[in-house]
Amino acid sequence: MREMTMVTANIDGKQVEVLEDTTILKAAEKAGIWIPTMCHSDYFEPYGVCRLCSVEVVRGKRSRIVTACNFPVRGGISVHTNSEKVKWIRKLIMELMLSRWPNVKVVREMAEQLGIEKPRFASLERDEAEDACILCGMCVNMCNDVVKAGVLGFAHSGIKREVVLPFSERAETCIVCGACAHVCPTGHIKMVLEDYKGKKPDFTLGPKAAIYVPTLQAVPRVPVIDTDSCIHFKTQGCEVCANVCEPKAINYDMQDEIVEIDVGQILISTGFDLFDASPMAQYGYGRLDNVYNSLEFEAILNSTGPTGGKVLMKNGREPRSVGIIHCIGSRDTNYHPYCSRVCCMYALKFAHLVHDRTNAAIYQFYIDMRAFGKGYEEFYTRLLDEGITMIRGKAAEVIEGCWQGDGEPSLMIRCEDTLIGKFREIPVDMVILCNAIEPRRDSDAVRRLFSISKSPDGFFLERHPKLDPTSTATDGVFIAGCAQGPKDIPDTVAQASSAAARILSVLAKGEVEIEPVRAMVQEEYCSGCRICNGLCPYNAIEYLEEKKISHVQEALCKGCGTCVAACPSSAMTGHGFTDAQILAELEGLMV
């Protein structure tokens, strides 16, 4: 690296000492002298496009006009920032700009500051707009040099010059970082909310940056970078987050670590997935506007959600009425025959909150009202007093209709009200579906890892549905929460506490009891053929070189008996399931 020496620059008579290669602009700033700029920003390297920062540099007998933003201070130069020549140039530039963009604020302000009023010229490209693009190129620089997304660029030359997108089409690589809009001096570039027509916005995640805090309740509550969407990992650009972080806590080189921990007991509480109602075309989820599933509506109700907690439709208006449909995918022979347990109560909760926050009429379409817990039935009765309409009859379909015949468009729920024995069509502005709770999509893969089974509904199988709902058939592996079956929060907490207590009691004992069912080699009969060695999935059988026989390590053997069946000498016996015992069973069965 070249050694940087200090040089003295003479700017307008003032001496100022700066590092060699500092630009005149920066040196002047140090000396307290203002030089006007239009295309300069500290975000990127100066590139001298607007020429407004032109100054006169005298070296010896020669003087020349250079742009202060990128001309380096070399030893012994003398700069005049306000000479006649400089003033003439500035006047020319500003008049050219004013003639083309007479109404742009930054142009007018700069002209005023420099004492220039009316332009002498009339531009062929005169643009009356207040937010016209003044071709400063700052957006291009941000996009190409800082963020390195490469979306914006200049096209054409001369008076036809303009800032464009590639092929004038919407760019896929634009990450909507807003850097261009942020740096644009005229407000020509705007960030606009896209119309979601035809595309479903992801409510549960919402729009967020590539660096984000996962949830408000995240532990530890630190941001994480999604390397798939972060532009730094694609182009090595941006790094804004690292630059603004004061304690310098951001490290782009961190890698995922795989940590191996030895444990004795495992508790699986991997939760559930929400049934996707898209295949049920009759309810219009994913097709009609304002049809939400329960998690999406939770996001809407949440004060940190997309609407700040207000109950609003897609078009931003409050709904006139809301329909809540129970049992979407539950209690349904076509999807899941079981009851998802929690939906009746959260449907009532939604009704209560909608009633609280809006004047909407609220309808519940239910098969049964399952208010089984402490205080639940009382809550239901309270809701009846709030004027919620309960219609006993599963909704048949959601169609587009109109509001009370006055032509205002809305949705319509068709159902049978079994209590009055009539078909009804209820106009609603918003439909909330109570989707089934189903096992996680990857539950089969998780299951195989731990050698546990699943019950017919797909949730992990407990050892006994009444007497042992937290253990599994595999010793040391416990299950809790919705991984074992749909349940609400109090039940999950109770089950998880119970599983934790079971685990702690095993850990506290300090020793583990193992089943006596295991294999053993009868040494006299073993021929040392070693067929059994390779069969054992737990590598519990070792070959003893000195004795030339195989030997079972008791702590590792799980007692499956595969080696017993395979032993050609019948040297291997399986305690509890010996050949003699099984053959005796056979004989007993055939009587």
Partner: protein, 149 residues
């Protein structure tokens, strides 16, 4: 009196036995002809057990285990799937119709599948008729009570 097949079932403890138990708990009706012997794993089933079962008078044998990939002991059922199909080809040489030996995978949640298999296999054996081997006649000569043929 209609012929009632005597079928021996070797069920692995973790999947098929639990599945059979589920069938019972769910009160699913199935034929009573399958007499169950529980082993820890279907890999424990020695081919000699199957042959012994036929020898002492079973009309059919079914070996049930966990689905491939789901074995409680990781790979036991892969050993079963090597042994039993080979045995099916072997019993033909003994004069036993290979349809009398079956290998089925039944998981712990498949109670109705277990019941369906039991019913189906019972009917198949019923249509095949009782198994008579010359060894049965020999055994009957020796100890008539020992062989319930």
């Amino acid at each position: 009196m209609a012929f009632e097949p005597k079928i021996i079932g070797f069920l692995c403890n973790w999947c098929s036995y639990t599945g059979a138990d589920l069938a019972g708990v769910s009160r699913i009706k199935s034929a009573p002809n399958v007499r169950v012997i529980r082993t820890m794993c279907s890999g424990r089933v020695d081919p000699s057990f199957v042959l012994k079962a036929f020898q002492i008078g079973a009309d059919g044998v079914v070996v049930m285990g966990c689905h491939l990939g789901d074995c409680h002991y990781q790979e036991g059922n892969y050993k079963t799937i090597r042994r039993i199909p080979f045995l099916k080809r072997l019993v033909k040489d003994f004069g036993i119709d290979p349809r009398r030996l079956r290998l089925e995978w039944v998981s712990a949640s498949e109670g109705d599948r277990f019941a369906h298999l039991v019913n189906e296999f019972t009917e198949e054996i019923r249509s095949l008729g009782p198994l008579t081997l010359s060894v049965h006649t020999e055994l009957r000569k020796k100890t008539p009570e020992a062989v319930a043929v």
